[in-house]
Structure formats: C-alpha cells, structure tokens
C-alpha cells in the first residue's frame, strides 16, 4: 500500500518534471535563438536554413564602433539616464500617492482614487499630440527631460499595488509613533518606508524597465532628433523595411546586450519583486 503510494507520487513527480522541462525549452528556445542570430555572420532577416553558416562577434563590436548610422552607445546612455530618473521620480511619487490613499483620511479621498483608477485606463495615443505641444510650449520638446516627465506622470496612476501593500502594514505602528510625537511626514519616511522594501524594489524595477519598452512616445517627442532617441526606438530603426536585411543581426546583438543587465537586475531583485507584488495584490 505504502509502496504503491510512493510509486504513484514518483510517477506524478516525473510527469511534472517532464512538463516543466518541455515548458522551459519552449520559453528559453526563442531567447537562445536570438543569441544565435546575434552571432550570425551572414546578413538578412530570413534565411532558408536555421543555423548560421558562420559565426562572428562583429555584430556586437559594430554596435559600438560603427555609430554613424546607429548610435547605439548614445542611445543606451540616453535610455539609462531616462530610466534612472524616471525610476527615482516615479518610485517616490507612487509611494507618496499610495501612502496617502492608504494611510491618510481626507475629504474626497475616494473620489480621487476613482479618478486615478479610470485615468490610468485612458489610451495614450490620442494624448501624444497634445502632450507634445504642451511640452513644446515650455521648450521641452525633443529633450530627454520631456520623456522623464511623461513616463513619470504615466506611472503615477499605477499606485494600486503599492497601496495594497501599505494596507497590510499594521496601523498600530503609526499610532504608536504619533503618540511619541512624530508628524505624518516623519512616519512616512521613518516608519512606513523601511518596512516597505519589497514594494519599493518592485516599483523601482517596473518603472526602470518602462523606458526600455516604449518606442512610440519617443518618436513623437524626439521627431528628427536622432541623438536623443532611446534604445527601443533606435533598435526599431534597424528593422525598418530598408534596414531589415543589412542590420537584422545587429538588431539581435543590440537586443541581447540590453537584455543581459535587465535579466541580472531581475534575478537579483526577484525576491523583493515577488514579495512586493504579492503583498500588494493580496487583500483578503
């Protein structure tokens, strides 16, 4: 009896391993293929064969040496700059908003929250022209600062998870601090924030990644200013119809290069990320 139970369990576990292995292959294979493509010597996006005939590292070196056409290092540093600033600004604002909605009670709090909720659902494309002209009015068009502003303001509305997280921190702590004479500002910085590492990390990570993904807002704001492109738009230029054949492998190399640091960042912060998002979305 015992034996067959164990055998059955071993069988199911075996099956689980098999499923996981198949899934893992499915998930990793495209990424591996991306790396293989980035090492391919022959140009072209489509080849009638699968594996490259010859391998080279030229695609990687060309990213940094052949910058007349595609200024990869410049775009990368632009993106890093925007990402870092956006990350700092939006983390601070999101935490401020969430703390405010979670801890403070003031008139129209509910109304503000509802407005925030629905504003986050507004499809951004129609706003692009308007935003561009507003930025131009204050002389910020075609600048990286404009991008930082736009990304930060967009992320303001994603306060839900962080608010959920703050809701889980016992209020008794605040009350104790108030009795000790702390004002709300001090409570926020000295009591709540230190307890919120996971959500800080989660928010920082998500807002850091956002500028790496957008290519549409950038193109509207930057227009003809090639030097101020970010990496997403820059890489997108490599695979337009005219450039696809010649620069596809270089696109792959560029993509791999930006994926590596983000992957490492993700792996390091994984623990916080999971804790933050679970803390934030669990509310029983």
């Amino acid at each position: 009896m015992m034996k067959s139970y164990r055998a059955a369990r071993r069988l199911t576990n075996g099956m689980v391993y098999a499923i996981l292995a198949v899934l893992a292959v499915l998930w990793v294979l495209p990424i591996l293929y991306l790396i293989v493509l980035s090492l391919r010597e022959e140009p072209g996006a489509y080849t009638p064969y699968l594996l490259p005939k010859a391998y080279t590292l030229d695609n990687y070196t060309a990213l940094f040496t052949d910058t007349a056409l595609f200024n990869y290092p410049r775009w990368l540093s632009n993106t890093l700059f925007v990402a870092v600033c956006t990350c700092v600004i939006s983390t601070v604002t999101i935490l401020m908003i969430s703390y405010c909605f979670s801890r403070l009670r003031f008139p129209s709090r509910r109304r503000f929250m509802n407005v925030g909720l629905i504003m986050g659902m507004f499809p951004g494309f129609m706003s692009m022209i308007a935003v561009y002209h507003l930025l131009k009015l204050v002389g910020l068009d075609q600048s990286l600062i404009a991008l930082i502003l736009v990304y930060s303001s967009a992320s303001c509305l994603g306060y839900f998870i962080a608010k959920g997280f703050f809701d889980t921190i016992p209020r008794a702590l605040d009350e104790a601090a108030t009795i000790d004479g702390a004002n709300r500002n001090q409570i926020f910085w000295k009591i709540t924030l230190p307890l919120s590492q996971p959500i800080v990390a989660y928010t920082a990570l998500t807002s850091f990644i956002a500028p790496f993904a957008d290519f549409i807002f950038v193109s509207v704001i930057m227009k003809d200013n090639y030097q101020n492109y970010t990496i997403a738009l820059g890489l997108y230029q490599m695979i337009t119809r005219e450039n696809l054949y010649r620069y596809f492998t270089r696109f792959c190399a560029g993509a791999v290069l930006i994926a590596i640091p983000i992957t490492i960042l993700f792996l390091c912060m994984q623990k916080y990320y999971v804790e933050g998002v679970t803390g934030g979305s669990v509310k029983g």
Binding site: G44, L80, V88, K136, Q142, V200, D224, E242, Y245
Partner: protein, 402 residues
C-alpha cells in the same frame, strides 16, 4: 534598506555624470549672429554624411551669406507623418516620395516653387516634373527617378526567354522547385496588374477615384488570383527576397534599394529586367508599374524662403544627383545626369529604365489608398475566396474613395 540605499547612491551618481556630460555638450552653440540664415534639412540617416558634404559645397559656393544649416533625421517614408505632426518644427527643406504630394499640398505645407521654374522643368525628366506639378503649379524639386520596381532574377535558373512572361517564369521556376516572389499584399506592387489591364487612378476634389473594379479590372483581379494560387508563387517583403534569392527564390519584384544585397547573393548570376507580361483574358499584357520619384520640397512656414529654395535647388542639381547615384545608387531624374555612362551601365537602373516605359505616375495616388489594395492582396494570398473577385474589388474601390 542598505541595498536600496546603495542602489540609490549609484543611480544618483549616474544621473550626475550624465548631467555634467549633457551640460558640456550643449555649450558652444551660442555664437549665432543676427543675419545668419538658419535652415534645417531632413534626410534619411543613411544619407546624412552625403547631405552634409553637399551642404558644405553649398556654403562654399555662397560665401556671401552666413548659413547655419542643421540636419534632422527623417527618412523619406516618414516625412509626411513627421511634418503633419508639427509643421513648425519640421525642416525647411525635406525630401519625400511623390505619393505624399497630394496630402502635403492639401495640408498646405508645400511652398509653391516659382523661382527658376522653367529651368527646373526642362532639366528634369518629363515624368519627374509631372510628379512634382499639380495644375501646372510646381510644388517640389525632382530629386531621383528610382522609386519604381522591376524584376530581379537568377540567371542560373531562368533564361531571358523565361522572364518575358509571368506564366513562363512560373513554370520554369516550378520545374526547378524554386519560387517567384512578388509582394502582392502591397498595393504598390499589386497595382501593376490593374494598371497593365488599363486601369487608372485619379483625383477628384481631393478624393481618390479608381476604376479597378471595371470589367478589365476584374479580369486583372482574376489574374492576380491565379498568380497567387500558383505553387511557385511566394509573397513577402524585401527581406524575404534578399534572404532567399539564389537558394529558394529564382526571381522577385523589387526596386533599386535591394540591388546591392541581391548582387552580393547572386554574383555572376545577377540579372534584372522589366516586369513580365501576364495573361489577361487569354492575351499577353505587359505589367505596368508605378514610376515613383523622390522630390525635395520647401516648407511653407520657412522663415527664409529664398534661401531654402536656393538650397533645395542646389541639392537636386545635376552634380548632386550624380553624387547621389555614386554614393547611394539613386537613379537621377535630371536628364543630363541620367544620360551619364555610369548610370546607364547600372544593371538595376537600366532595368528600371526599361520598365519605366510602362511607368504610371503615382502623383494621383493618395497615401490612404494603399491599405484597401493591401487588403485585397492579402485576401488573394490567403486564398480567401468567400467573396468573388468582383465583390472584393468593389469594396476596395469604395474604401479608396472614402
């Protein structure tokens, strides 16, 4: 918290370094005197170096004026979108393919050219001038005459005789288990069947008119249907042609911009010619094509119209058209430049010249007409026959007119 603080410090450091770097870069632009003529030129990223060299020449030729000319990167394909987003931030001088003419004029961003009008019109080929004029008003400077398409083929697979007819070509390719590529789901290429069958496109009050759904047009549509259903047919964009030619693909329709890549792949077997004939109601009919041109326009909002025109005129003159040919293999619209020996010896350009005898101006095509044509092509490629060709074409034409 320690980890976070450390990350925070690192971030701040990065920001600081970058800010300092940015500040340094911005210095030194300030020495612009009062009577400086400031102009901005748009061109594709690939053309920037060439453009800069040309502008240096321009400055040398006009030493009396103090020019401050800046460059913006906008490829011809995106010109319309980028200008219309904000005409005031757009370049003073920009290049664009002629199918954007209609929309640009409608939006009022093209400066009507009056200086040297007669000279410009006589120096450039008839087609290119026609593409740049509307109602006898000249709106742009012809720049190239290569925005058309023709047939590339692999000499080791297809003979000169094979490529004369579409049927012959398909049969020969099928025998050797190879494909013939044409991007039928692209209105620009697709139209060659309809134009060949005598169809035409026109403009009426700024709206597109089109007769591709008449009797001849339906017959052409049936020819497209048969072509797409042929086992040797393959569709796809340029990257598929350049990727497969020489191995799986024997011939393909494309333009001069793929010439380098195809020549590289085919080597000695590289060949190009006009488009083949196709079977229309049992008779062989020559496929026509859009003979497109690239033009250079001046922004109607420019602060220095005369200088901008001077620059545009210079950038499109005979000498610079030849430079364009040498550096970027762009076919000249200037008659003298086109007659140059080197230009004539170019395989792709001479194939284009051959095809251009059957060329149709695309000045009458609105940019918004491509999507409905693409949709028809897509249906044919997908062998989606739930409606008749006639029904499809009726819808296509009505959407183009909308």
């Amino acid at each position: 918290m320690k980890v976070l603080r450390r990350i925070g410090i690192l971030f701040l450091a990065v920001v600081l370094v970058f800010c300092l770097a940015a500040c340094n870069r911005n210095r030194g632009d300030g020495d612009v005197t009062k009577d400086t003529v400031e102009l901005k030129v748009w061109g594709a990223q690939e053309d920037q170096e060439m453009l800069k060299a040309m502008v240096e020449e321009f400055k040398k030729e006009n030493p009396d004026t103090n020019y401050s000319i800046t460059f913006g990167v906008v490829g011809e394909k995106d010109t319309q979108t980028k200008i219309l987003e904000d005409p005031d931030a757009a370049a003073d001088v920009f290049s664009f393919p002629d199918d954007q003419m209609g929309d640009l004029i409608k939006a009022g961003v093209l400066y009507e050219i009056t200086l040297d009008k007669a000279a410009i019109m006589s120096e450039n080929s008839e087609g290119s001038v026609a593409a740049a004029t509307v109602d006898n008003k000249l709106y742009a400077y012809p720049m190239t005459a290569d925005n058309g398409y023709f047939l590339y083929y692999d000499k080791s697979v297809l003979t000169e005789e094979d490529v004369k007819t579409l049927d012959g070509m398909l049969a020969a390719a099928q025998k050797k288990n190879k494909k013939v590529l044409m991007d039928v789901s692209n209105g620009w290429y697709l139209a060659s069947f309809f134009l060949g069958a005598g169809g035409s496109l026109g403009l009426e009050n700024g709206k597109q008119t089109c007769d591709f759904n008449n009797e001849q047009g339906v017959a052409a549509g049936e020819a497209v249907k048969a072509f797409c259903a042929h086992p040797a047919f393959i569709t796809g964009e340029d990257a598929i042609l350049t990727g497969g030619i020489g191995s799986t693909i024997a011939a393909g329709v494309s333009g001069t911009w793929t010439a380098d890549a195809i020549q590289e792949k085919l080597g000695d077997n590289y060949a190009a010619t006009k488009l083949p004939t196709f079977t229309l109601n049992g008779k062989q009919v020559q496929m026509k094509s859009f003979a497109g041109y690239k033009l250079m326009g001046v922004n109607s909002g420019t602060k220095h119209p005369k200088e901008a025109m001077k620059l545009a005129r210079f950038l499109t003159n005979e000498k610079n058209q030849l430079i364009r040919f040498e550096k970027r293999a762009m076919g000249p619209s200037n008659i003298k430049a086109a007659a140059d020996e080197k230009v004539k010896a170019n395989v792709a350009l001479s194939a284009l010249a051959m095809q251009n005898q059957y060329g149709v101006s695309q000045a009458n095509v609105l940019n918004s007409s491509w999507d409905p044509m693409e949709a028809f092509g897509t249906a044919m490629e997908a062998k989606d026959y739930k409606k008749t060709v006639k029904e499809y074409l009726d819808t296509m034409v009505s959407q183009m007119a909308a």
